[in-house]
C-alpha cells in the first residue's frame, strides 16, 4: 500500500476527503497531546528542570511506536518507507542550528509550536501569545532567508537515514533505537527520583503545586 492521500496530489478530486482526514488526524493529535499534559507549560517545563520527564517519555515512546510500524510494514512490503523518507531530507547545519534555537524558544515560551496550539485551545493566553510569536517568527524567516546565503542548504545529505549512515539493516537500527529509548526511560525515572528527593530535603518546595 502506498499513501492513500499523498499531500502533494491533493489537487485532484480526493482533495476534499484528504483535507477532512487532515482535520481528523489533527483532532486525534491535539486530544492525545492534551491528555499527555502537554497543554500545560509547567508540565512541559518539568523536563528541563528535572522534576517531570514526561516530554522525553512521551516523545521517545511515540517515535518507537511509529518507527516500529513503518519499519515492519515496509519490511513486509506494505509501505513505501523510502518514498516517505525522501520528504525528510537532511540539511545538517541548519537543522542543528534550528534545533538549538527552537529548544531555547521552547524553554523561553514554555511551549513548542504544536503544544502552544493545544494550550491555546484549553484557554491559556500564553499559548495564544506563543502562536502569535510563531506566526511572526516564521514570516520573519522568509523575509531574511536570502540574507542567510547558502546556510539554509548547508550540510545537504539528501534523504539520509540512520541505517544508511551506520551501514546496518533497518531492523537492527530499530532494535538499537528501542534499546536507547529504554535506557533513556530508566535515566528519566532516576532523575525524577533524585530531584524529588532533593526538593523534599531542602525544605519547602519553591513552587506550590496547584
Amino acid at each position: 500500500m502506498n499513501s492513500l492521500f499523498p499531500f502533494w496530489s491533493l489537487g485532484d478530486e480526493r482533495r476534499t476527503l484528504g483535507l477532512g482526514l487532515a482535520v481528523l488526524f489533527g483532532i486525534a493529535f491535539g486530544f492525545v497531546l492534551e491528555r499527555a499534559g502537554f497543554g500545560q507549560a509547567r508540565k512541559l517545563m518539568g523536563q528541563f528542570y528535572g522534576r517531570d520527564m514526561t516530554v522525553l517519555k512521551v516523545m521517545f515512546t511515540a517515535i518507537v511506536t511509529a518507527m516500529l510500524g513503518v519499519v515492519i510494514l515496509s519490511g513486509v512490503g506494505l509501505f513505501d518507507l523510502q518514498g516517505v523518507q525522501l520528504r525528510y531530507p537532511t540539511f545538517l547545519w541548519p537543522m542543528v542550528a534550528g534545533g538549538l534555537v527552537l529548544g531555547a524558544g521552547f524553554v523561553i515560551s514554555g511551549y513548542c509550536p504544536g503544544t502552544s496550539v493545544v494550550a491555546c485551545a484549553s484557554g491559556k493566553i500564553d499559548g495564544l501569545a506563543t502562536i502569535g510569536g510563531v506566526v511572526v517568527g516564521s514570516v520573519l524567516y522568509a523575509e531574511l532567508e536570502l540574507a542567510l546565503g547558502t546556510f539554509p542548504v548547508s550540510g545537504a545529505l539528501g534523504s539520509f537515514t540512520l541505517p544508511q549512515w551506520l551501514g546496518l539493516p533497518a531492523a537492527v537500527v530499530a532494535a538499537a533505537v528501542i534499546g536507547f529509548a529504554l535506557l533513556a526511560f530508566l535515566g528519566a525515572e532516576k532523575v525524577e527520583r533524585i530531584v524529588a528527593a532533593r526538593r523534599a530535603s531542602t525544605g519547602p518546595a519553591p513552587v506550590a503545586r496547584r
Partner: protein, 175 residues
C-alpha cells in the same frame, strides 16, 4: 477554581500510554497522508495570508512568500486543516477533563505581562528556527525521527541541548 467531582484536573494519561497513542496517530498520518504531522507550517501560512491582505505586492516580491500563494490561497493546505483539528482535539481534551480555564500559566510570583512577553518572544524564535530546520518538535523530531532520518535526530538532540542551556536563565517565570 471549581473542582469537578468526577475528575482531577491534574490527572493525565500515563506518559508511556500517551506515547503509544501519539505514535499510532503519527503512524496513521504517515501511512494515509504520506507525510507526518506538523505545526509551524500552519502558523507560517496564517502569517503569509495576513500579509497578503495588507501587502500583496510585497508577498509576490519575496520568493519564499510568493511560493505559498502561487497556486491557491495561503491557507489552502492540509497542514492548516490538521492544525484546525488540533484546536478541536485540544479543546475536547481539556473540556472533557475539566481543564478548560482562561489563564496565563506562570509561577505564583511572576507577573502576567512579562510572562506573555516571554511566551511571544520564545514563539518568534521557534517560528524562525522551525522554518530554518524545515520542521519543529512535531514536524521534524517526531515525524522524521520515526522515519530514522539523520537530520531529524540531529535536530531533536539540538532541541534538548538548546532547552537545557536556556532553562537556568528563565527559571523565574515558574517560581
Amino acid at each position: 477554581m471549581s473542582e469537578s467531582a468526577r475528575s482531577d484536573p491534574n490527572r493525565f494519561w500515563n506518559p508511556y500510554a500517551a506515547g503509544v497513542a501519539l505514535g499510532l496517530v503519527l503512524l496513521a498520518t504517515h501511512l494515509v497522508m504520506g507525510h507526518g504531522l506538523g505545526a509551524v507550517t500552519a502558523s507560517y501560512r496564517l502569517g503569509v495570508a495576513t500579509l497578503d491582505t495588507v501587502a500583496p505586492g510585497h508577498v509576490r516580491s519575496v520568493p519564499a512568500l510568493a511560493e505559498v500563494v502561487r497556486q491557491r490561497s495561503a491557507l489552502d493546505h492540509w497542514l492548516v486543516f490538521e492544525v484546525l483539528g488540533m484546536v478541536l482535539g485540544g479543546l475536547l481534551g481539556a473540556w472533557s477533563a475539566g481543564r478548560l480555564s482562561r489563564e496565563v500559566a506562570r509561577g505564583p510570583t511572576f507577573g502576567a505581562v512579562p510572562r506573555l512577553a516571554l511566551a511571544a518572544s520564545g514563539g518568534v524564535l521557534m517560528g524562525f528556527a522551525g522554518r530554518l530546520a524545515r520542521g519543529c518538535t512535531s514536524g521534524q523530531a517526531l515525524s522524521g525521527g520515526a522515519l530514522l532520518s539523520v537530520g531529524s535526530w540531529a535536530f531533536m538532540f539540538s532541541v534538548f541541548a538548546g532547552g537545557y542551556i536556556t532553562a537556568y536563565f528563565v527559571r523565574r517565570q515558574w517560581r
